[in-house]
């Protein structure tokens, strides 16, 4: 149990299927607090499902999941809400609320979930948008933003409640290398400045090796390798070795 409390996230023999398709099979891993875990794998191997299980947008068929010392698989909605407040989720396509301005997207959780005054909320929104380089764009609608800007806006929304655990689903997909590097830099800064635990699903091996402390490689629903880059490079699994390779 002491191990459970030290780790920010624990997956314990988690399985998930959609109809006949087994997406995750008996997956177990732990992520210590303040580390960055990069999840690699071919498409359709359960990486994004892992993130959605972590924030309880999906429920596992079997197994248990702990976040910040709390077992979330059996929580009721009200208790789950308290755990989710400790987490931020950057969706692959940002998933910004498209009928709200950028400011409203960020202010919404602050209005709903905190007792902060309007001035405090304005100040937080300005600060977080400044961190992601969108300070001058807060009155824009999501449809007016480019792909890279949307991604940064999604990251800003994920950070606005200062989460302990940040989940990012392909944060650099569809972005040029410079913008992708900027996103990686923002994730690193979260870890360094606030000790945030970050779990990133990515296909960008270069970026992953730059920011990740640990790596998890999924193949056909199984966790085939887990550990530091050097551990995965020496894995017996060929897919894992290929995926972690920069060449």
């Amino acid at each position: 149990m002491s191990q459970e409390i030290k780790s920010a996230v624990i997956f314990d023999r988690v399985s998930k299927a959609f109809g006949p398709k087994q997406v995750l099979r008996d997956v177990s891993f732990e992520v210590p607090g303040g580390e960055i875990l990069c999840i690699l794998g071919r498409s359709g191997t359960g990486k994004s499902v892992t993130l959605k299980l972590l924030i309880s947008l999906l429920k596992p068929d079997h197994g248990k999941i702990w976040v910040d010392g709390i077992e979330i698989t059996r929580l009721k909605e009200a208790d789950l809400s308290k755990v989710r407040r400790k987490m931020g989720f950057l969706f692959q396509d940002a998933a910004l609320f498209d009928s709200f301005t950028l400011y409203e997207n960020l202010a919404l959780p602050l209005h709903r979930l905190t007792d902060k005054t309007q001035d405090e909320i304005d100040s937080i929104v300005d600060r977080v948008l400044g961190q992601v380089g969108l300070a001058g764009d807060k009155q824009k609608m999501p449809s007016d933003l480019s792909g890279g800007m949307r991604k940064r806006a999604g990251l800003a929304r994920a950070l606005v409640l200062e989460p302990k655990v940040l989940l990012a689903d392909e944060p650099s997909s569809g972005l040029d290398r410079i913008t992708a590097a900027e996103i990686d830099e923002l994730l690193l800064r979260q870890k360094a400045d606030r000790g945030t635990t970050v779990i990133v699903v990515t296909h960008d091996v270069h970026g992953a090796r730059r920011i990740g402390n640990r790596f998890a490689v999924f193949d056909k629903g199984d966790l085939v390798a887990f550990g530091a880059a050097s551990d995965v490079e020496q894995s017996e699994n060929e897919t894992a070795r290929k995926l972690i390779s920069e060449h």
Partner: protein
Amino acid sequence: MFKPIEFIGKVSVFALRVLHDAFRAPFEGAQISRQLAAVGYESLPLVIASGFALGTVMTLHTRSTLVTFGAGSMIPTVQALAFFVEIGPLVSGLLVAGRVGSGIGAVLANMRATEQIDGIESLSIDAFKLLVVPRVAACVLALPLLTIFMDFSGLLGGFLSEFSSSRISLQLYIDRAFADFDWANFIPPTVKTAVFGFIIGTVSAFFGYTTNEGAKGVGKAATNSVVVSSLLIILADVILIKCIFFAFPDNAL
């Protein structure tokens, strides 16, 4: 394969959740206002134009028959009763089901497909309360108001049609239209459209909110919203008319 019993069960649970969450804080005033503008204000031109055209056409059709039987003076009365008691409420409901129901279904299905609903849930915000309840509330509040506009625009269309034939004055037309009119001819039929609004909002939101078919589900949700809302409105109309006759027996005579 379509399973009607399962569908009825799921929609009923969805509707009960709407009712439960509607009376639970926070009350989403800002969202309801936004939706009222979308459902009510933006539907006004369609409702007024349709009411006016229907009123005109109805007078054109009924005039010859009533005049043949020496009941030409009854034209305004027939027009007012027909619109206030049945045509106004039912046609408003069907028009809003077409315009608003498809919109609600498509918007929510698109939000589901683009993970916006998951995004809201991931922020610990109750997406159902934020997205579904205001839309249903706006439909419930807007429908009776739109019906009143439909009723009076229908009457105006009828007057202009009759004026072009008999040069009747507006004062006389109104006097005749409301001569045998009772509040029971106006209030219950208008209030019943709140039920139509609840049906449109709930059914459309159900199809949009619960879809999991990605982009394909958007079109499907829009179509199903209109078809099922319209059918349920007609069915509810029959039941509600029976209820109104039970509560106001004089209206049934």
